[in-house]
Symmetry: C2
Subunit: 482 residues, 2 copies
């Protein structure tokens, strides 16, 4: 961490301890609704909680697209009502010690920044760039201090964002014991985690590390990564988790019926959970179709744009618990008879994944899921006021809200995006065009803009209006007094 950010942080922390007057800046969301516990236990002994909600790829374009669809252009999301708003600059470096700045991140290095306060290289899970050393995570610090931790995601629990809070490995795709050596897609080599094999003195794959973690709650997808046998053993990773004290649940009924004091491992799908919304007939963004004459000269001919469509429910979504249901369950299990407090990370992963696949309806539904989980977190904080709630994104994404009618529509020539386009009919009766054009590849690229951060009133005096992503780690750590 560099000195400007340290200076800033120091000032903010000084601020937070600047005497009785500052108590006003650290008051509860709704002071009149404190719990009996809060009323009788001195503030310095009351349990403190952090709930970090991450919208993967949830940049300002994604938020506006979702707001327009879900609430109308004049409407408000739950996150819009948060009392503090900041911008978070993402930091990434080349994979070497003293590596130069890289301006676009992936979800592995950004989750590492949030979980550990370090800047690392793309693909890394809580390990240092170049030197591949383990970075201590906030989950590990919380556990050492007697606090509970939970991770909830709509991705595989072994996917990058959740993994970086409780595992350490050089490459994010080493998600299970069978994906440690020569990880590939078809015949294309993508990476290797040989040095982290247990046989080589390492901690093994991500699922093995999660199964052996101190997490109290771990909910999401990724059952397939817990099915293989552990490295060098005759039991599955799931069985390893059971022996380590986890109660395994595989559907919503089992999640809701779990004993309230159980440590939970919920795996509700083989991989990423199905998303809530999809385009009509599962349509995604499509390429505009110029006429033959337009191929001859760009001023000639015409173009057929993709037909406007509505968003519709994805039937497969009914088979899994919502992010709100998982968040509510996590909050119950983390808070029960807990005098020390907890750290909970909640991720809506497929805002990003659906954007990679050029599916704006999918991203909209997953942003709605995050907003609902935030409503649950805010409701919880009304009963446990010493709860810092942060909502942010890990990086920006490809989708752009572009004009439905071009700004240059008066010019009698066919104009259209060179990328892929979805034209969505919104519930308020207007048309919204969403563009994906970062690459010709089958998956869109991330983008590099700073991301939004929303805080509840507990962030006052702690969260500045502009910060670098790794600084969020120290804010959470200090709030929990770790």
């Amino acid at each position: 961490m560099n000195s400007p950010s340290l200076a800033l942080l120091t000032a903010v922390l000084l601020c937070a301890t600047a005497g009785p007057a500052m108590s006003t800046s650290t008051t509860d969301d709704i002071p009149s609704h404190t719990t009996a516990q809060a009323a009788t236990v001195p503030a310095q002994e009351r349990p403190r909680n952090v709930i970090l909600l991450i919208g993967d790829g949830m940049d300002e374009q994604q938020i506006t697209i979702a707001r327009n669809y879900l609430k109308g252009a004049s409407g408000e999301l739950v996150m819009d009502g948060m009392p503090l708003r900041s911008a978070v600059q993402i930091l990434t470096v080349e994979d070497s010690t003293e590596g130069r700045a890289v301006y676009v991140a992936d979800s592995a290095n950004t989750a590492t920044s949030l979980a550990t306060g370090a800047v690392t290289s793309r693909g890394r899970i809580a390990t240092t760039a170049g030197s591949d050393e383990r970075l201590t995570t906030i989950v590990e610090l919380a556990s050492a201090a007697g606090l509970r931790s939970g991770l909830v995601t709509t991705a595989s629990v072994t996917d990058a964002t959740a993994a970086a809070f409780a595992a350490h490995i050089n490459f994010r795709l080493c998600e299970n014991p069978q994906s440690m050596v020569n990880v590939s897609y078809g015949d294309i080599p993508l990476g290797d985690c040989t040095q982290h094999l247990k046989a080589n003195g390492g901690k093994g794959s991500i699922s093995e590390q999660l199964a052996e973690s101190t997490l109290h709650v771990l909910l999401g997808g990724g059952e397939k990564h817990f099915a293989p046998n552990i490295e060098g053993g005759a039991i599955s990773v799931a069985e390893l988790a059971r022996r380590n004290g986890f109660t395994l649940v595989e559907d919503e009924a089992a999640l809701l019926a779990a004993k309230p004091d159980a440590r939970l491992l919920g795996l509700f799908a083989p991989s990423t959970l199905p998303v809530r919304l999809q385009g009509e007939n599962a349509r995604e963004a499509e390429a505009p179709d110029p006429s033959l004459l337009n191929h001859v000269h760009p001023y000639l001919g015409d173009v057929t744009l993709p037909q406007p469509m509505r968003c519709e429910p994805n039937p497969a979504f009914a088979t899994v618990p919502s992010l709100k249901t998982m968040t509510d369950a996590a909050l119950r299990h983390l808070s029960l008879d807990n005098s020390r407090g907890f750290f909970l990370m909640v991720e809506s992963a497929s805002i990003d994944k659906q954007a990679h696949e050029r599916k704006p309806c999918g991203s909209i539904g997953e942003l709605e899921q995050l907003d609902e989980a935030l409503a649950s977190a805010l409701a919880f904080a009304r009963t446990a006021p010493d709860t810092l709630i942060l909502v942010t994104a890990d990086h920006s994404q490809a989708a752009q809200l572009i004009p439905y009618h071009s700004l240059f529509a008066a010019y009698p020539i066919p104009t259209y995006t060179p990328g892929k386009l979805a034209r969505i009919i919104t519930p308020e009766g207007s048309h919204m065009s969403v563009n994906y054009a970062t690459t010709n590849f089958m998956m869109e690229e991330h983008t590099g803009a700073a991301v939004p951060l929303f805080s509840n009133a507990q962030g006052q005096g702690r969260v500045p209006p502009y910060l670098r992503q790794p600084e969020l780690f120290a804010i959470m750590r200090d709030y929990l007094r770790l």
Copy 2:
């Protein structure tokens, strides 16, 4: 300015306003540095000022691109040190009464929202959608209350953003008496303002309305719109302005030499002012060049990307005053012997215009200009603490910061943007790829994301973390007690 210390100062100021006296939400920036005037005149009688700085098209992508280039990925712009940050949802409607929502704006309807608090349709200058009625602007309210007003821009002063604060017309391109009927580009009809001709009982073109306005300061480009004769008269629009009390200045020396009590009309270029930075050899973003084999199948062949480049000074910039110089002059003339206060709008217009032309270096330099003007505004506010400073954008723009090395670089196929690409070597020694791909037209399209808003401490308790763009008008009006 030293950014770490600015960040520190910001944190301390946050601290200072968070104390017992949350009264304090309306205290001065630096209470111990109030002017002699402020010390002796009761608060409710002291002059109040609003400085609204608009980065045209300055969305989070543009800000991050500029920050990375100008300050490095870990650095800070002046605006990053502002104590309050918000998001502003842009609202636009179809051009009819009761028109439906339109999700991407232009600079005319957004400036109208800021200047009047109304939501209107694209292309309109302070007139209502459909019914074409005049909307009262904050400049007019300020004038009626005895406050001064100034407009400063790097565009023509007749261009949409400035125009909407002091003129009323149905179409933004009616900038002078010769552009009122059948406004066209070549033979392409773009619009018509016949009903606003003086002959038809209207107020005439934008330049005529500005020449007859009560503005105290009007600085920027656009001399060509003041050269034609006024409608039905034998004098130029410039002469009309002179007769209305303006002192005309046409270069920086004249600007600096102007009598301190003069009302100023500064026109420093025929149209938009030259920008500060350009790409090496005036290069802009260019199309990737795939090999013949890649045209046969996207998995085959290879691609030649545009050569990386540095940004360099634009020689033409030396011929005009900087935005900071114009802002400083405006502040001098507006504040001299002024017991009532003022409203000043400062626009860096070519963040947007250069993005339309796919020139990232141009946008970077113009964002730097806005940041410098902000530093001037902050310095002024230290001597006049009852000054509300707001920095915002009018709408989002096309540029995207995309990966220099693709996230999917392991796949042995050529991947590249279908749009235009600039690869910029940054002063900190890294590479930054900027993508433009909203359209195949010669000009990029705007985008629809909510935009950032930064406020100084005077915004505390007045500027919420989320608002709709027209709400900014009421915040400024109420601050000035209009």
